[in-house]
Amino acid sequence: MPNAKLAHKKQVIVYKRILWLLGATLLAYATAHAALLAGLDPNGQDTKERSSLLEMVSVALLPLLLLVGYGARTYKWGLWCLASILLVLTIFNGWLA
């Protein structure tokens, strides 16, 4: 394969990885935030206590979700997995509200 074509192919791979990483980051952040919201009770009295604990959980979740989203690229199941969790949490949050 000519060098120029090879370089172009490599560039495309890198751009795809960056896009994949961006997608995984956005989904992971949205999922971690949705998990935080799911744990909060909008009408409760102990929101400060709960949010404090839930922030700890979300901070731990965020890197794990990002690694799953970016790392599991076979059949794109990492991104699908994040999207599914986000959907479930969003429905749950909507139902709570």
């Binding site: 990885r17 935080l36 929101t47 400060k48 709960r50 404090s52 922030e55 901070v59 970016y70 790392g71």
Partner: protein
């Protein structure tokens, strides 16, 4: 995962190395302040006396009249003097008082607080800096996870392999893996707890969570208005401290905050793993007891545990050294990773300007930051001790030296002479390290027996730094 580990590691690693290096120094922030204020004798036991508190209250009221918000830091085992502190935007500074109430004629310095502030705000304000540090903390957790995923196959047959005399990339990789694997639990613990402490900065505020709304306003933009009414005089503080000890079931109190109507006395958290400070609140008008605010709920305890583990205030002297050594190992791991990144790509990418810039920035992060730190210590000894607003020139020295080393590193790297650049900077670090004990001995007439452990530790670390830089310099000589 390799791509993720390398590139995120490079982008975040340049700043994270600085965050870890300054965090490691912050383990001994109080001791650094002691070294930088040699005029304060530390031999007396921590005693809280009425004359000292009365004089402190007068100083505090004078500061309040100027529109600042001072507070009192009470004597403790680690810092046995009473301090009246003001926040200058980056550090808590102020006079230290002896047991009889006289002010020690100590030089003004940001001391170890400078490193602490740089560690969690990058010296760029609480709002922007903390958010950035929190995001970088999260990135580090991702990079560490990716690193484990890469290394997991090799972990089973060999936990770590050390081949210091192997070919260059192999030796650097071994150094990266050795520190990365052995200190992995510490790395995860310190990164996770640090990120959790600043987590509020990265999640959006929720309208139904009252304390989110209260804390969402950026600290920097919050206007500093002087109290509308003149605060009432401060009642005698010693009886209040004694009463607070009984109410909080503690043997020591740590600091006292003042508002226009209240006096808040916080318990000392140096003996417990949980950095939760319960508070006894008194009326400022007549000193009568108002209430106790205890932080015993499960979530407060959990948060206190995170803060306690990260700040390590509970720890003994030995444990603090272990924190320091672990922090140093993690900084080494990141620095080795950065160097490895460029060694691996030098053959194919060295002609690219991005590569040159990256290598220059790596040089400025590793040797430049070391030189800037040493210069900060040297500036403390070389600047006149009576210089007004002395913290400004001290910190300016740090940033000016760092900027100079960065420009030098970038120039050498862009001129395709990075090895020469590394060698010159290593030599500069050797000279600065060796000059630190010499200048200290010639400029200060401190009593060695007062605190010989502190001075010996600083000299030993300066010699260690000089030795490492000298070995690196000699090794690089062989490459030319």
């Amino acid at each position: 995962m390799g791509w993720l580990h390398s590139w995120l590691g490079l982008l975040a690693g340049l700043v994270l190395t600085c965050i870890f290096a300054t965090g490691t120094l912050s383990v001994f922030d109080t001791e650094i302040t002691h070294w930088m204020q040699p005029e304060i004798p530390l031999t007396a036991p921590p005693t809280l006396t009425a004359p000292a508190l009365t004089h402190a209250a007068t100083l505090l009221q004078n500061d309040e009249a100027k529109g600042t918000f001072p507070f009192l830091l009470l004597p403790s085992r680690r810092d046995p003097v009473l301090r009246v502190l003001n926040y200058n935007g980056h550090a808590f500074i102020g006079p230290a008082l002896a047991a009889d109430g006289h002010i020690f004629p100590a030089r003004q310095t940001a001391g170890g607080q400078f490193f602490f502030n740089f560690h969690f705000t990058l010296y760029s304000g609480v709002f922007v800096g903390s958010t950035l540090v929190c995001l970088l903390g999260l990135l580090l957790l991702v990079v560490a996870g990716a690193g484990i995923a890469i290394h997991i196959k090799a972990l089973w047959p060999n936990l770590v392999v050390v081949r210091p005399f192997a070919a260059k990339p192999r030796a650097w990789l071994d150094a990266h893996l050795l520190t990365g694997v052995l200190f992995f639990p510490f790395l995860i613990m310190i990164t996770y707890t640090g990120t959790v402490i600043l987590a509020r900065a990265i999640f959006p505020t929720h309208p139904f969570v009252q304390h989110h709304i209260a804390t969402s306003l950026p600290q920097k933009s919050r206007p500093r208005v002087a109290p509308s009414a003149k605060p009432s005089p401060i009642p005698p503080l010693l009886p209040l401290v004694e009463q607070a000890k009984t109410l909080l079931h503690t043997s020591d109190c740590r600091f006292i905050l003042f508002s226009s109507t209240e006096i808040q006395i916080f318990e000392n958290d140096e003996d417990t793993l949980f950095a939760n400070k319960s508070t006894a609140i008194f009326s400022r008008a007549d000193g009568h007891f108002l209430r106790v605010e205890e932080k015993n709920s499960a979530s407060a305890q959990a948060r206190g545990l995170m803060q306690g583990l990260h700040f390590a205030r509970f720890s003994s002297f030995l444990l603090r050294w272990l924190y320091f050594a672990s922090g140093l190992a993690c900084t080494t791991m990141m620095a080795a990773g950065l160097v490895l990144f460029f060694i691996k790509r030098r053959k194919h990418s060295s002609r690219h300007i991005a590569f040159r810039l990256g290598e220059g920035l790596t040089m400025s992060t590793i040797t430049g930051l070391t030189a800037a730190t040493l210069s900060y210590f040297l500036a403390n000894r070389l600047l006149p001790s009576t210089l007004p607003a002395r913290t400004g020139p001290e910190t300016a020295t740090f940033f000016m030296v760092w900027a100079f080393f960065s420009v030098h590193a970038l120039l050498y790297s862009l001129l395709h002479r990075p090895i020469n650049g590394w060698r010159i900077q290593c030599l500069a670090v050797v000279i600065l390290s060796l000059s630190l004990p010499c200048i200290d001995l010639f400029t200060i007439t401190h009593d060695w027996l007062n605190n010989y452990g502190l001075y010996c530790s600083v000299y030993a670390l300066a010699f260690l730094c000089a030795t490492i830089a000298f070995i690196a310099h000699q090794k690089l000589k062989e490459k030319i």
